[in-house]
């Protein structure tokens, strides 16, 4: 029995040690981190600049290089994946995104992204809407959507 507890203790300590040395590995397994996704059929781009990413999710850039419209999908403001996407990929806080979208909507100078209610719905809509872009956790990606790299 003591052997079993010791074994568990060692595993926990090892996990903790890894967590201290490599925090990302423990806190956010790669397959759960948000990944930018686009509609795989209609969007040919493989790489986006940070500028373009900010402008697209900030709803200031509304079309792809070929002239087709960009359809942006996001999860609700308090959704954990949205918070992570906002902070670690866009480098802004969710409240700043919300403030920017509200300014556009209520001054007539733009629109806000389409809000989806679940990651399943995100995948379905990005996968079926031409020119769509969104974000998803890595483990949920399928053929209809493709991950896109950014600088």
């Amino acid at each position: 029995m003591i052997k079993r507890y010791l074994k568990r203790l060692i595993i926990v300590l090892a996990y903790y040690l890894i967590g201290v040395l490599f925090p990302c590995a423990v806190a956010m397994p790669a397959e759960n981190r948000p990944v930018v996704i686009v509609n795989s059929e209609t969007v040919s781009k493989l790489l986006l600049s940070q500028n373009a990413l900010s402008a697209i999710f900030g709803m200031r850039l509304r079309k792809w290089e070929d002239g087709s419209p960009i359809k942006v999908f996001v999860l609700p403001d308090d959704n954990l994946l949205h918070v992570e996407f906002s902070k670690y990929i866009l480098h802004v806080f969710p409240y700043q995104l919300r403030a920017a979208w509200d300014r556009l909507v209520f001054s007539g100078t733009g629109e806000e992204p389409v809000k989806v209610m679940s990651e399943q719905q995100m995948r379905d809509l990005v996968g079926s809407t031409p020119g769509a872009i969104g974000y998803l956790r890595g483990s949920m990606i399928d053929d209809t959507v493709k991950a896109i790299a950014f600088e």
Partner: protein, 454 residues
């Protein structure tokens, strides 16, 4: 620039927006229209002052309504197949004001006033990725003189001339919102304001009409690089200066004639760094308002011209929980041709320092110190008093504000704040306060507001 034809700017048929069937089937908005109507009817019946003891029962009713309606979440707007998008949004705010002295938005000094409702409905349609049409209708109740204001807030066509990842350039035509400072373009929406009452030194509700929107056009552009995001807007148009409030703001009382706006200009340059961690902006305007007399002097003033040229510097620092904002304005007013004693050439000064703290997703607090001087050279108003025999305290206002907000969910907000004010420069002459001599220099204000948006 000639004014656009009235037909372009007339109110769209409200029935198309308010049909709950249309709302539900097209936009999947789960808002029972009947419940919204009930809210409006309930508040419609409670005009004017209310004894304080009824406040609690009112709050209880509002609280219950909030709990019931908070169950509703907004569904996504449907995108149509042809690549066009249609979106509809709206908001409704009910405010309550209680003042120790002086009146604001109704008889706030006698048991408080519920005479404050802001509601709006807007729609946006983008038939192509470069072209967008948008419009917003507002309903406002704000005390005497504003019992049932319905107006077209904006109605515009937006065309993007150039659009790449780093540059954007476009033009807006029609009735466009006037861009100045950080908060003017969305000043009627509780959710986009830091407090229930915007800093009055820069966003005076008394001069609201002139600063809302103008009929004309606006050119906008954006340049983005690794260092940040540079934006500019340059507009030309005719503001909406026909209201009595404009006349009161310029002349101090209601003369027989009328004010009217002439071609005016506005410009704003903005710079965001590190995704908005640091924001700065420089705004300026050249606002031309004329007075058309109805009678000959001395029964009326002469046809005068008011040229208002403010310049505003804005800065904001945003962290995860804390945001610090400050704006400073120099407001030049040149009045000529009105007649002896009314012509003036003064520069006013305004500024505020504001700190907001977000405790979590729901709670937020704000503290602000806001200062307004009608004339930089007469900060205590004594020169004004000597010249016009009118109280000196009408020429300045210093306001300490503390407020708190609670976000129930994405759609509901409850806010409360307390102001300790020295000076009555905010007070609109005539409307709510018929007699300036009854005004008190030191006054406190408590306000509560409930907001809903979709």
């Amino acid at each position: 620039m000639t004014r656009l034809k009235p037909s372009l700017l007339s109110n769209p048929p409200l029935s198309t927006f308010f049909s709950s069937q249309t709302l539900y089937s097209h936009f999947k908005i789960n808002v029972p229209q009947t419940l919204l109507n009930v809210l409006i009817v309930v508040f419609e019946r409670h005009r004017g002052s209310f004894p304080l003891k009824h406040l609690l029962s009112k709050m209880f009713v509002i609280g219950v309504l909030i709990l019931v309606l908070s169950g509703f979440e907004v569904g996504p707007a449907r995108a149509f197949d042809l690549g066009s998008t249609v979106q509809a949004h709206g908001f409704l705010t009910q405010g309550y004001f209680l003042t120790t002295e002086n009146r604001i938005f109704g008889t706030s000094d006698e048991g408080g006033s519920f005479d404050y409702i802001e509601a709006g409905l807007n729609g946006s349609w983008a038939p192509m990725s470069d072209l967008r049409l948008a419009g917003q209708v507002l309903f406002r109740r704000a005390g005497k003189g504003h019992e049932h204001d319905v107006e077209l807030d904006f109605g515009l066509v937006d065309y993007t001339v150039l659009s790449t990842a780093d540059y954007r350039l476009g033009v807006r035509l029609g009735r466009v919102k006037i861009p100045f400072g950080f908060y003017n373009e969305t000043r009627d929406v509780l959710f986009t304001r830091p407090t229930i009452l915007l800093p009055q030194s820069i966003y005076a509700d008394a001069q609201r009409d002139l600063s809302l929107s103008a009929d004309g056009g606006l050119v906008y552009g954006e340049y983005q690089n690794n260092w940040g995001n540079l934006t500019f807007e340059l507009g030309m148009g005719i503001p909406r200066g026909k209201s009595v409030d404009t006349e009161l703001g310029i002349l101090g009382s209601d003369w027989p004639g009328r004010t009217d706006s002439k071609r005016s200009y506005v410009g704003r340059l903005g710079y965001d760094m590190l995704g908005g961690k640091y924001r700065v902006a420089l705004s300026s305007a050249w606002v031309d308002t004329r007075y058309q007399p109805d009678r000959l002097p001395p029964d009326d003033l002469s046809s005068g011209k008011d040229i208002f040229t403010p310049i505003i510097i804005s800065a904001q620092y945003n962290l995860e929980k804390l945001s610090l904002t400050t704006e400073y304005a120099l407001r030049s007013v040149k009045d000529s041709g009105f007649g002896e004693g009314f012509d003036k050439d003064i520069v006013g000064e305004s500024y505020y320092l504001q700190a907001e703290y977000r405790f979590d997703d729901h709670w937020q607090a704000v503290v602000r110190y806001d200062v307004f001087y009608s004339d930089r050279k007469d900060r205590n108003g004594r020169k004004f008093e000597a010249l016009f025999n009118s109280p000196a305290h009408t020429q300045f206002a210093k306001d300490w504000t503390i407020g708190i907000r609670y976000h129930l969910n994405q759609s509901f907000l409850v806010a409360a704040e307390y102001h300790a004010i020295d000076g009555t420069a905010w007070i609109v002459p005539l409307q709510d306060n018929a007699n300036l001599s009854t005004l008190n220099r030191y006054w406190n204000l408590f306000t509560l507001a409930v907001g809903y948006r979709f």
